[in-house]
């Protein structure tokens, strides 16, 4: 089973209206309430592909109950530690007339040492039934910088493979535990990794090499919406999207992680270029829909011919 961790989930409320006018009553045309968070999105993609997944992390209050129920509704197993403070809510206002998107981001709850201890206990137990775990996304207040490092160490003690998708200090500290695959979240880090810019293919390759040199088997750098660099200790690939329109990049990174998790969990490993192609097709399937994740296995299969993987020297 593939387990995902979302330490800082959110309830994303999107409100669409013609135009937002200050100091006036504004009638909203459409509202949607969707569980958000990188790990949750990875679980949604894995479920859409028809595989079992369990989602772990912290939830709290009414928003937390709503998220857990929504996840179970689509077939995701939940084992969250419920905290006393409310799970954060993000409000996205879409003004259709001028195509303006405004995001109001909630700082989110504090996590006590007791909450953290209980979560670590759940994580450790769940590893017994996991083959691979994806650790991704932002970290709530009061959680130590090395949280992902600690979780990767715990997973490795139970022979569970690990995938890391994070940013900043949480990413760099976690690399010391040597996850199987590491993908820096460039969106959250302002396109910088190890304090260096990732603004070209050349720089992306350098960063990928630096990650691999730290003992990580696979490094993935999504340096453009349609281009990714993937490196192992002795090879580098460029994955590109061709002949397909990108509709919505939100959730693409998580779908790529889901794709890698699905293929890396298989006992009979495919060739690395095929694994990359599949993972990128998952990302493209997500980017081809208005929603955050693709809906079925067929969506992914249809995208496979639109991915070009080239081995670089």
């Amino acid at each position: 089973m593939i387990t995902t961790v979302t330490l800082n989930p959110a309830l994303d409320i999107t409100m669409e209206l013609n135009q937002l006018v200050s100091n006036q009553y504004n009638s909203v045309k459409k509202v949607s309430r969707i569980p958000g968070g990188k790990g949750i999105n990875i679980s949604k993609a894995i479920t859409a592909f028809g595989l079992d997944t369990m989602s772990l992390g912290f939830l709290g209050g009414h928003a937390g109950h709503f998220i857990a129920e929504q996840l179970r509704e689509v077939g995701i197993t939940t084992n969250f530690w419920h905290i006393e403070e409310e799970t954060r809510t993000n409000v996205i206002i879409i003004e259709q007339n001028q195509k303006i998107h405004t995001l109001l981001s909630d700082p989110g709850p504090r996590i006590s040492q007791r909450d953290l201890d209980r979560f670590m206990s759940i994580f450790s137990r769940v590893m017994a039934q996991s083959r691979i775990v994806a650790l991704s996304g932002s970290v709530p207040k009061d959680v130590p910088d090395d949280i992902y490092y600690q979780l990767i160490e715990l997973a490795h003690q139970k022979n569970v493979q690990t995938i890391l998708d994070a940013s900043g200090i949480y990413f760099e500290k976690a690399l010391e535990a040597k996850p199987l695959l590491a993908k820096p979240d460039l969106r959250a880090s302002g396109n910088r990794v190890f304090n260096k810019p990732v603004d070209s293919q050349e720089n992306a390759i350098k960063i990928a090499h630096e990650i691999v040199n730290r003992g990580i088997q696979i490094a993935v750098i999504s340096y453009q919406d349609t281009k990714d660099i993937i490196a192992t200790s002795d090879k580098v690939w460029l994955a590109e999207t061709i002949n397909k329109q990108i509709v919505n990049i939100i959730g693409t990174a998580e779908a790529i992680i889901a794709g890698f998790a699905i293929k890396l969990m298989e006992e009979k490993k495919e060739d690395m270029s095929d694994i990359i192609k599949f993972a990128m097709a998952c990302g493209l399937a997500s980017a081809s829909t208005d929603e955050e994740e693709f809906h079925t296995k067929d969506d992914v299969i249809r995208c496979l011919p639109c991915i070009k993987v080239t081995k670089l020297n």
């Binding site: 857990a68 179970r72 197993t77 939940t78 769940v126």
Partner: protein
């Protein structure tokens, strides 16, 4: 219908050394009536429900619930809860519990629930906890199946 298609996919559980007070907290905050006890490998080794807790602390409560002495017994329950809040749940949990496999069907689940007079069945895959099924889940699934059947007939 397979149990895995109708169970509640929530694997909230506690270790046997969890304190009774914390178990009650978890049940309250998660709005659940019972909780499986697992080992370090997430394999089910026991179960405790709110009913079990009250019965343990006030063995004859069912007999007194409609009597005039209920108020005094309730005070007694409150005292005992405070006294036992720091005791480990393993002291109170039901051991040798009945579980069901995720690939079994709803008839078997209903039979186990009714024959053993229990309200929750932990669902397992290779011994690992993967969910919980209750009579309410079975009834909901049966109603939905009937509605689906009717829709298919009309199409």
């Amino acid at each position: 219908m397979k149990i895995k298609d109708i169970m509640l996919k929530n694997t909230t559980s506690v270790l046997p050394d969890c304190h009774l007070g914390e178990v009650i907290d978890i049940m309250a905050i998660q709005r659940i009536n019972g909780i499986p006890i697992v080992d370090e490998e997430q394999k089910v080794i026991g179960f405790i429900s709110q009913h079990d807790i009250i019965k343990e602390l006030l063995p004859n409560y069912l007999g007194i619930i409609n009597s005039n002495s209920f108020i005094t017994e309730f005070i007694q329950l409150s005292k005992k809860l405070k006294e036992y809040a720091n005791y480990k749940v393993e002291r109170f949990m039901k051991k040798n519990i009945i579980t069901i496999n995720e690939d079994d069907n709803e008839v078997m689940a209903a039979d186990l629930l009714i024959r053993n007079k229990i309200h929750h069945l932990p669902v397992v895959r290779n011994g690992y906890l993967v969910g919980i099924v209750t009579m309410r889940d079975l009834l909901k699934a049966m109603i939905e199946e009937e509605e689906n059947d009717k829709q298919e007939e009309t199409q």
